[in-house]
């Protein structure tokens, strides 16, 4: 599988990152098999978080067995020093490892949170302390929030080494600043920061719960994912062609093998084909006014 430099971390990540949240819905034996399948496909970058149910625990056994083959990303949603330090220790215990390769601020949403993590006694103090004592090697940040906020974080956190954010044809088709994650890619690349893509496989929101109750949704994702092999291949190729480091699978375990296949077969996507994907997403999103042309 193709690898790319993860910013200036010195690590070359595979073009697919395994989102280990998928393990949460599997029994231990199934989780072990999935990790083996992911490693067999050549994936070398894993991502997990303490908020993904039992994912850390279920990743543990195979992670320990293959520790040297896996670049491990983990995260914390805590915003202050004490909370982050505590959560890091808890993740190390649950995963059963001595160190995490990439520790990320999880789900930054607001300017207040950015102020908090960067202030004295903020979460980043715990991250840096852990880096000094060797339990964490690199610092990252994840967000579904406003692209401006992520760019602001890049500007304000000098030692930030990776960012994780949404990117897919639906957001690329929208021109407003609220959806301009391409600007995040650009700034991150200027700064030598690794870029990890989430929501690459989102088709759109789920229908109203009146129409489709939550328990009847066919996938564990909180959005409606694309789920045909050709769509998964197209979405993967699109996301991986946006000048980013790596693309993370959707959380539902049923989709993981299709994404692995897409990642193994990925050979780039030319610009006319990328525009074609954006163009279909534009029309999916807005059926009116009625349009005959592209």
């Amino acid at each position: 599988m193709e690898t790319r430099p993860l910013g200036e971390t010195g690590h070359d990540s595979t073009v697919m990152t395994f989102g280990a949240i998928a393990l949460n819905w599997l029994e231990q034996e199934g989780a072990n098999q999935m990790v083996e399948a992911v490693l067999d496909a050549g994936v070398n970058h894993f991502d997990v978080a303490p908020t993904y149910g039992d994912a850390e625990l279920k990743l543990g056994p195979k992670l320990r067995q293959h520790r040297e083959e896996i670049f491990l990303g983990c995260k914390t949603g805590e915003r202050d020093y004490e909370g982050a330090r505590h959560k890091l220790e808890r993740s190390l215990n649950r995963l059963g490892v001595d160190a995490i390769d990439l520790y990320q601020v999880h789900g930054l949403e607001t300017q207040d949170e950015l102020d908090q993590i960067t202030s004295d006694g903020g979460a980043l103090d715990a991250f840096r302390e852990a880096r000094d004592d060797g339990t964490v090697e690199h610092l990252g940040l994840t967000s579904h929030g406003d692209p401006d906020l992520i760019i602001d974080a890049i500007d304000r956190i000098d030692d930030l080494e990776t960012v994780m954010f949404p990117l897919n044809p639906v957001v690329v088709a929208k021109d407003d600043g609220e959806h301009d994650y391409e600007a995040v890619v650009e700034r991150a690349n200027e700064e030598g920061i690794g870029t990890l893509v989430i929501k690459g496989f989102a088709r759109g929101p789920w229908p109203d719960t009146d129409e489709l109750p939550e328990e009847d949704r066919p996938y564990a994702n909180w959005y409606h994912p694309v789920d045909r092999p050709d769509e998964i291949r197209e979405r993967f190729a699109f996301a991986a062609s946006q000048d980013v480091t790596s693309v993370i699978n959707p959380g539902d375990p049923k989709l993981v093998s299709m994404v692995l296949d897409a990642a193994e077969r990925f050979e780039g996507m030319d610009e006319a084909a990328q525009r074609s994907v954006v163009e279909s997403a534009r029309h999916d999103d807005s059926p009116v006014p009625q349009q005959l042309h592209h």
């Binding site: 021109d175 074609s276 279909s280 009625q290 592209h294």
Partner: protein, 241 residues
């Protein structure tokens, strides 16, 4: 308003900034929006379809009334003076222009353009053999031929429009591929089927019925399809320099 990537790509290296532009066949205003975004001084959005004229006013004209002038006119005879436009665009226009009136439109666009003006023509190559959308377009054209004596759609190869405009004084500059494959989404399929049904509805029942049945069958059958190529041709008016 979101500008389609196709439009943005076609305009990206054209000198639109500060230019007086003519969008030939304004559609729903996508290219007009792209020209405004690229810094056009003024855009004449020309269409012979009053519904489209209203849509363009509503979607694009309202936010920029000083720069958008929606002109309801036939492209064979626009009310614009000679040598008055710096950039002419025709995005997805010529596939709805029957062959018989193609030369008159080409002549009119050359008339209103200033010497050295730029022309951008974006359209579709004929669909490849085996594309299901070809069948839908065939039925759409059959119904329109029977109803109005002219097809709804004609897909001109890039090479043909290139030579046509060369014959009206435009020097070819470059060609690029905007979309390949072209995504014919469910909403495109539905829109084309609707036009075909409208044509069929004006025919005697013994003609309308089989056409409508076939349209319904094709809509179910196709769903959506990615096939074909959308190209962009760029020209300058005048002799090669």
């Amino acid at each position: 308003m979101d500008v389609p990537e196709t439009v943005r790509t076609a305009l990206e290296d054209r000198p639109v900034e500060g230019a007086v532009c003519l969008e030939a066949g304004a559609g729903v205003g996508n290219t007009t929006a792209g020209l405004l975004e690229a810094g056009a001084r003024r855009v004449y959005a020309v269409t012979n379809d009053s519904e489209h004229a209203g849509t363009v006013r509503e979607r694009v004209g309202v936010s920029d009334p000083d720069r958008v002038i929606v002109v309801e006119a036939d492209l064979r005879a626009t009310p614009l003076p000679d040598d008055s436009v710096d950039v002419v665009t025709a995005h997805g226009l010529f596939n709805v222009v029957p062959t018989a009136i193609l030369p008159e439109i080409a002549a009119e666009l050359a008339r209103v353009a200033t010497p050295g003006a730029h022309l951008v023509v974006d359209d579709y190559d004929p669909l490849p053999d085996g594309a299901a959308m070809r069948d839908l377009f065939a039925v759409e054209n059959a119904a329109a031929e029977l109803a109005d004596g002219a097809p709804t759609l004609t897909f001109y190869p890039a090479e043909m429009l290139r030579r046509l405009f060369a014959g009206y004084g435009w020097t070819f500059d470059c060609e690029r591929t905007l979309l390949q494959p072209v995504p014919w989404t469910e909403s495109h399929v539905a829109a084309h089927a609707e036009l075909a049904r409208e044509s069929a509805a004006s025919l005697p029942a013994d003609l309308a019925e089989p056409l409508t049945t076939e349209i319904d069958r094709l809509v179910d059958d196709i769903g959506s399809e990615s096939a074909g190529r959308m190209y962009s041709l760029a020209f300058r008016l005048g002799r090669e320099t």
